[in-house]
Symmetry: C2
Subunit: 458 residues, 2 copies
């Protein structure tokens, strides 16, 4: 196994010579194996290791036992060690998240702090092949593109995962062969319901009943998806390098990135999506809260008339001008760009799970819609011929006749901003939302749309 | 729903104006819906339809009832109809396949014959969204790349699937709303075990316990994989168009296709695989029996010395010469290409499931290995420094000392062909196989390697 891991580390260039590595050490089998193996290969890469244990303030004596064992093992291996205490339960309460999620946040925060203190270059964590198969299925079931199908990457943002190439059974066999002890992970029994179901029920069932190698097969398909994802990103980057127009402020911070609509329209659908993602990442410095629907809605602007825009999380906006597709920071006045022709309001989208009894906002600025009903990209735009709404009971009404019935003067009708899915109007901003997209008892997921305050007569 | 399907047909350009379409009509809900919807949209695309029902000679009266209903419905809709009788059970016996597999073979054979008779341009089948999610999971668990993750394509090789955009429930609701009756598919209860498990147990469990939208999410991820796959194929084709070297015989049949090794080595791993696939497809006219391991083994030749080759199914061979990577038909003497420097034997690989009690061939030309043990690409080559074998008990022995112990004269040692995985020798051809890869009671899958008769002293 040692050789498998060494091959994997080399092939994926997980370490540079002289790396200083924080090793996440819970004291469980996986992290014990990680520390032992890294300690063995440290000479080859001239690594400096430091083991860090996070005590979550949960599980009483058992957690103390784990901490003590982690410290003892590190000492025996001659690896510097530190233990940090956190209050996962309190943090969970404070931030309205599950204890597991809080634990994860806090751990990575500690590892990052320890890395800086240690002058560290990498953080090694003990995810293995079984975790990878579980992650890929979890992403697939919850909704993902190639990125999520690719699972955890061996190296990303300083986090390295040298054990992804081996399974849990191999790890246990290695520890037992080498007479290395470890603490039982009773925490693993408490992780979130969905992952637990996959790990304990669904994946074993698939292996037993459908294909004994399903775990490896899932990992292999994931690897292909990850490779395709990396390649597509590279292609998008190269298009942007050749044709992109980048705008930076005095400090060199990117506030706007654009590319010719002609160029995007000549590319495949999938590349358009990747170009938009890369522009968002470049302007936002992060893909936090950016979902598929944002990317697809931005890409859909290409097929509409100039002047349309949609809002994106993180204070960004996607704008399609006559010749360019832009991702820009909102509220940045751009003296150079005067094609914008934009007077549409800013609408923020966010997506979350619906639980029965949630109170639906009753104001003109925040609306909830049934996310599951939306099949295509959304636009924020003015009216066009063919626009329609759905009435209670399921009948359709043209937007025109709705506006006439609502006594909107003819000259005002073209100035009312809409949120639409194709010709189907979800929201006549300032007026009403379509029956079709309303929240019902069957709603699983909500898409909330929020207007930048007071811009329309809503 | 009608509009959803029409959109889908337009977006994917499933039909050209004037297409003549064979509609596969079992009489069950899905195919009844297909025929009704196609009959509705036929004007828009100026389609000529013909319904074809295949009677499998199974299920006695029930099958007769289905045939009759299919005929009546077609008549009512004014669509020409024909019914073909086949003997699925007999065909299954004759060809050593399951009755379901036999049924599928025979159906597509009939549809193709009917298409030719009808002067047809397309064959429409009734696979829907639920079938798609099931297919994607089935492929994922059994092992696949992006192609399999992409599931069934809306249009491929004249087969169109207009219902992929709707689910089974929508189909049933549509039929009931429009008062259209259909036959219960009792056949669906008899389809193969694995697909049935996914459809009836695993997918419903995932939807219920993990994510109600899992079906749609799987389909969406599949769509991204299909788009990536199509894009990667296009990139590979464009590389081959620019740099490939194609050799055709007098009739214009391609017998050899190659590209510079330098060019391939400059590309991403994933593109190398696609280029090799496209060359195989071009020379072989089919990807039948070509697995991932063949493509990866061929790609691995790039990283070895010139002169190595491996055999591929369909009578092909991948050859790496000093400057080129070739896919060629075996036994085609190529007067132009004299870089081949090849004297290695031809080894055919095939992969199948192992069942306890299967008789392992005991001759020098056919060997079985435990496929699950193979993690990297295989090569057929001569020995190199560092080659080793695994002995009974798990110890290693260098190939050199094995050959010395076997009293192979020094000057002969370099002439013995090997099958290797990296430096690990699976088979010293003519001598022995490695203990490590031997079939055991735990073996799930066998890779059989077969030598072209009598070329070595085995």
């Amino acid at each position: 196994m040692y050789k498998t891991i060494l091959d994997y580390v080399r092939r994926n260039q997980l370490f540079d010579r002289g790396d200083r590595v924080i090793v996440a050490l819970s004291g469980g089998a996986d992290s014990v194996c990680l520390l032992v193996v890294l300690n063995e290969i440290k000479q080859e890469f001239d690594l400096a290791l430091k083991a860090v244990h996070v005590h979550h303030g949960l599980r009483g004596e058992e957690a103390d036992r784990d901490s003590n064992y982690a410290g003892e093992l590190s000492e025996k291996l001659g690896v510097p060690f530190s233990c940090a205490h956190v209050d996962a339960a309190g943090y969970a309460k404070e931030h309205g998240m599950s204890v597991e999620e809080a634990g994860r946040h806090l751990r990575y925060k500690i590892f990052e702090e320890e890395r800086v203190l240690f002058g560290g270059t990498k953080i090694a964590v003990a995810h293995h092949g079984d975790d990878q198969a579980e992650t890929i299925l979890y992403n697939l079931f919850r909704g993902t593109g190639l990125k999520g199908l690719g699972g955890m990457r061996p190296l990303r943002d300083r986090i390295v995962r040298p054990l992804l190439c081996v399974g849990r059974e191999e790890i246990l066999a290695y520890l037992s062969e080498n007479g290395i002890s470890y603490c039982e992970d009773s925490t693993n029994n408490g992780t979130e319901y969905a992952r637990n179901r996959i790990r304990k029920v669904i994946l074993p069932q698939i292996k037993e009943q459908l294909n004994a190698r399903a775990g490896e097969n899932i990992i292999h398909a994931g690897l292909m998806a990850a490779k395709a994802d990396a390649y597509l990103e590279k292609q998008a980057d190269s298009l942007l390098a050749n044709y992109g127009e980048l705008k930076k402020d005095k400090d060199g911070t990117v506030y706007q990135w654009g590319i010719g609509t002609e160029i995007l329209l000549n590319e495949d659908d999938i590349i358009r999506g990747y170009v938009i993602r890369q522009m968002i990442k470049g302007v936002n410095q992060s893909m936090k809260d950016i979902t598929m629907i944002h990317v697809e809605s931005a890409a859909a602007l290409l097929f509409g008339p100039a002047g349309r825009q949609i809002d994106l999380p993180g204070g960004l906006v996607a704008v399609r001008t006559r010749k360019q597709m832009w991702i820009k920071k909102k509220n940045v006045e751009d003296p150079v760009d005067n094609h914008l022709e934009v007077s549409l309001p800013n609408v923020d989208f966010s997506v979350f799970s619906y639980k029965k009894g949630m109170e639906i906002p009753k104001n003109g600025y925040t609306k909830w819609f049934d996310y599951d009903k939306i099949k295509c990209a959304l636009s924020v735009r003015y009216r066009e011929t063919g626009d329609y709404m759905t009435l209670a009971g399921g009948g359709r009404k043209t937007l025109k006749s709705y506006l006439i019935d609502s006594k909107v003067p003819k000259e005002e009708r073209g100035k009312i901003p809409l949120v639409t899915e194709g010709s189907h109007v979800l929201w006549v901003i300032g007026y009403r939302i379509s029956e079709y997209y309303k929240i019902t008892d069957d709603t699983h997921t909500v898409i909330q749309m929020q207007l930048d305050g007071g811009k329309v007569n809503g």
